[in-house]
């Protein structure tokens, strides 16, 4: 049962509060929100003057020690009015947020948890409200129901309910199908218990975040409505102070500045608070996930590095095309250190050779392949060693020069066919574009060549495929298109990264056939990255085995199959007998020799 994890987010509240306060902006926003709330609650004690008391001897006073923010037309102290205004502004926002949260969360919880009729109703409710032009409806409502601002805020709360509804609905839907909720149900917990114990815990943090944002919007709308003249003229609020200040904008613009700055500070603090809380939550979540995996560094430390086993290969012929020596690849970490993913690896590929690079996932195969292409993901670098291609050192190659190499001389077949075609362009245009750029072909020439290639990789109707969009072809067809793309500029080397893994078993065999035929026809060298020894046996001349970021054994295919020396190679070879698929038939051939 230990595999059923409950999300840690909710359990780390105390930790989170600490994180929020140690982040400078987080501390600032928390402080500001607390300050304004404090002012609102203790307005009676804090305000130096009665906010409604006029002093006709001191009208329109400029800021001084007696009146920190000056006085208005009736000689009332603006600082005191600001403090009392905070009370009104925050109460209004609280009202709107509470109503929105209660309606939105209840409907969202029920609709998300039980589905069915409630689901339909909730969506309908949410859609209708979102289609209404908010402020206009608010104006209409205000004209009908009277000028009470609290009433307007209540209505606004209803209008804002969808924001909570959608959030809770989506979260609950996701949680509902989690294993631990099933487990709770199986162990006999009632729906109510499950909702309060498991579901509420997960949605609590997102609700707090959303509340901060909604409060900020409510404050803006409230101030805006008051500025438009809705609400009780006598009420002391920042919106009313705005209106008052705006009427004296030519004489005393400072009077507009106080409420404007107050509103801006409060709203920015609320949004900042919500944003930082969200960021911290995401960071906590990410950290939990990462720490469960043992890093390669640890494996490296744990194992004593025996020298890699290199089988002698006296029969090899052809010129050397790629030489990887002592390759080390690392990713820059937050602390400025590198996390090593590939190290101490040697590999060579001759012209026209098909070389398999085998190992379990996470062993560094793909990293090696991407390093060869010069396309390591952000943060990844070659730390040590060298990669040469036809005598050119790739580690230090300028990016312009690399662009000339890719496509023209080194090409690539990815694992997942569908996501590797741009969905917005036709297959034809994606094939033609590189040929025109790299080979400098004319439009018609490139088109003819593309259709010819599509025919050669075995697509039944190349003209039709040419003008199709990626979503209109099957996965197997898309992979043929990608093979055609890799061949399109006559490269010397193709890097095929698990080219059959994402496909159905029958289609895997077809794709391997296409690869073999194309290789025979063009004499291109292939670096075949795979976890499947069967595929290797099917296609490769030579093979290199990778484990924990290091190539541990390499040699001609027959030697490796007949005399595997490294325990890991032996283990991998043992396991292929359990695998189904095209591998098995082909495996017999080398073994039978």
């Amino acid at each position: 049962m230990s595999t059923i994890e409950t999300p840690r987010l909710a359990l780390r509240d105390r930790n989170l509060a600490l994180k929020l306060l140690t982040n400078p902006l987080g501390a600032f926003s928390t402080f500001m929100v607390t300050l304004f709330t404090f002012a609102a609650v203790f307005a009676n004690q804090l305000a130096p003057y009665d906010p409604t008391k006029s002093d006709y001897t001191l009208m329109r006073a400029t800021p001084s020690w007696q009146h920190l923010m000056g006085t208005d037309d009736l000689g009332r102290d603006i600082f005191s009015r600001m403090i009392f205004g905070a009370r009104f502004t925050l109460t209004g926002a609280l009202l709107a947020v509470s109503i929105a949260a209660v309606i939105g969360c209840t409907l969202g919880l029920l609709a998300g948890y039980f589905g069915g009729f409630l689901d339909t109703f909730g969506n309908w409710f949410s859609n209708i409200l979102q289609a209404l032009p908010g402020l206009i409806v608010l104006l209409a409502a205000a004209s009908v129901l009277g000028n009470g601002l609290y009433l307007a805020m209540g209505i606004f709360g209803v209008l804002l309910a969808p924001a909570f509804y959608r959030l809770v609905y989506v979260t609950v839907r996701a949680v509902r199908n989690e294993l631990y909720v099933d487990a709770a149900r199986v162990s006999g917990l009632g729906d109510f218990k499950i909702i309060t114990r498991h579901v509420l815990g997960v949605v609590r943090a997102p609700i707090i975040i959303q509340a901060g944002i909604i409060a900020s919007i409510a404050i803006a709308i409230q101030a805006g409505l008051q500025f438009l003249g809705f609400g009780d003229v006598e009420s002391i609020s920042w919106g009313a102070l705005l209106m008052d200040g705006y009427s004296k904008i030519w004489e005393q613009p400072i009077r507009l500045v106080w409420p404007a700055v107050g509103l801006a500070l409060l709203m920015v603090s609320l949004v900042l608070f919500a944003t930082i809380l969200r960021d911290e939550l995401e960071r906590v979540g990410a950290r939990v996930r990462k720490s469960t995996k043992k890093s390669l560094d640890e494996h490296v430390k744990e194992r004593e590095l025996a020298p890699a086993i290199v089988h002698p290969e006296p029969d090899r012929h052809g010129e050397e095309l790629v030489k990887i020596s002592k390759l080390e690849i690392g990713y820059l970490q937050v602390g400025g250190k590198y996390k090593v993913v590939v190290h101490d690896s040697n590999l060579s590929i001759n012209k026209g050779e098909v070389v398999g690079l085998v190992g379990e996932s996470g062993s560094g195969k793909t990293q090696t392949a991407l390093a060869l292409l010069g396309l390591l993901p952000a943060g990844g670098t070659i730390l040590d060693g060298s990669i040469t291609f036809d005598g050119i050192e790739l580690k230090t190659l300028a990016s312009k020069e690399y662009d000339k190499l890719r496509g023209a001389r080194i090409s690539y077949i990815p694992q997942e066919p569908m996501s590797n075609l741009d969905p917005s362009f036709t297959i034809g245009s994606q094939l033609v574009e590189p040929m025109r750029m790299v080979l400098g072909l004319g439009k018609e020439e490139a088109r003819a060549r593309a259709i010819d290639l599509l025919d050669k990789v075995g697509l039944p109707d190349p003209e039709k495929t040419y003008s199709s969009y990626p979503h209109e072809v099957s996965g197997g067809q898309a992979q043929r298109v990608l093979i055609a793309g890799a061949l399109s500029c006559d490269p010397d080397l193709i890097i095929a990264d698990e080219p059959t893994t994402a496909l159905d078993v029958t289609i895997q065999a077809e794709i391997l056939d296409v690869l073999r035929e194309m290789q025979k026809a063009t004499g291109v060298a292939i670096l075949l990255v795979t976890h499947n020894f069967g595929v290797v046996a099917d296609l490769c001349d030579r093979v290199a085995v990778m484990q924990y970021g290091r190539i541990v054994e390499s040699g001609a295919i027959i030697d490796i199959f007949d005399h595997p020396q490294h325990p890991y190679t032996q283990e991998l070879l043992g396991s292929i007998l359990d695998e189904n698929g095209p591998a098995r038939g082909a495996y017999v051939a080398p073994a039978g020799k």
């Binding site: 004209s143 803006a220 805006g224 509103l263 920015v268 662009d403 590797n420 969905p423 990608l482 793309g485």
Partner: protein, 313 residues
């Protein structure tokens, strides 16, 4: 394609009907106090009864709504109670002004935010941090506070632009710029900040796609892949953001028009609602709802045109 448009127009009509009915119902609910507030405290009971009878307020909700509805479908929103001209006429005159404000603000915001958002997504670093901070400010600070700041700086302290008033662009273009600069600036800034951030997100998402790397392995340069493929795929999400912003701006413009005393739909809305003028409010609600529905339809059609998967649906 035609089927798609027809279906969307159908949903739009249903939505429009629902919004109008709901709005009319709300207005009708509060109609017993309208006569008093328009005629004033001196009005006799007979005056009020006459007013209610004249405007059909003594009828049942369904009767009253049906009367409005049968005219409204012919774009006749009746005569307002507190304005001289028919509602349709007023709306037609004021709609242009509002649309000029909204479209020019949105155009400026769109151009600047595409540049900023794309740069932030591609470059990262300090420009990215500035864009994110601006996004936060723009999200948190409503446009009327921005308007106040602009007025204080550019109209009160430095008399570069006008603080109030409106000159149509046809009359005197120089004066138009002086009167429109600050409201457009305030509207544009707020939406600029949030559009930029969303475009940044769309471009970053698009950069994550597998085909970006695969296209590079075909020998295409980084710039070519970014400017042809990445941006093309970020265009769809960016377009929906613009649509949302347009609708949002229609709400935000109410206060902006009021601040700058601009005779647009927003200030008309404030006048109409403060005077509880049912035909005027209903005309405004209907027209706004139609604009929102049409804009959403156009955005959907454009997105469909951009996305080959929906193009034929």
């Amino acid at each position: 394609m035609l089927k798609f448009i027809a279906r969307r127009l159908g949903t739009g009509a249903v939505l429009l009907f629902a919004v109008c009915t709901l709005a009319y119902f709300l207005l009708y609910l509060g109609s017993n106090t309208i006569a008093r507030s328009i005629l004033g405290v001196q009005a006799t009971k007979a005056d009020i009864a006459r007013f209610n009878h004249m405007h059909g307020l003594d009828k049942s909700f369904l009767e009253s709504y049906w009367g409005w509805f049968t005219h409204a479908v012919r774009f006749d929103f009746g005569s307002p109670w507190t304005f001289a001209q028919p509602v349709t006429e007023i709306v037609r005159m004021r709609l242009g002004t509002t649309l000029i404000l909204v479209t020019s603000s949105l155009t400026i915001a769109a151009i600047v935010s595409v540049i900023l958002g794309v740069t932030a997504a591609l470059r990262g670093g300090w420009i990215d941090r500035i864009v994110q901070f601006l996004g936060l400010l723009g999200f948190a600070i409503p446009n009327f506070l921005v308007a106040f700041a602009l007025v204080i700086v550019f109209a009160v302290q430095h008399k570069v632009f006008n603080a109030v008033g409106w000159t149509p662009p046809g009359t005197d273009f120089g004066e138009f710029v002086k009167s429109a600069a600050l409201p457009i600036g305030a509207l544009a800034f707020t939406s600029l900040a949030s559009i930029t951030q969303q475009i940044r997100g769309a471009v970053r998402d698009s950069l994550q796609n597998d085909y970006v790397r695969t296209l590079r392995t075909r020998g295409l340069s980084y710039n070519r892949v970014v400017f042809k493929h990445v941006l093309r795929n970020a265009a769809g999400p960016a377009l929906s953001i613009l649509g949302l912003q347009f609708v949002g701006m229609l709400g935000g413009i109410v206060i902006i028009e009021q601040i700058f005393a601009i005779p647009g739909l927003g200030s008309f809305g404030v006048l109409a609602t403060s005077q509880k003028d049912i035909p005027a409010v209903m005309g405004l609600v209907t027209v706004t709802a139609i604009i929102v529905i049409v804009v959403n339809l156009v955005i959907d059609l454009l997105s469909a045109a951009l996305n080959p998967k929906v193009r034929l649906a």
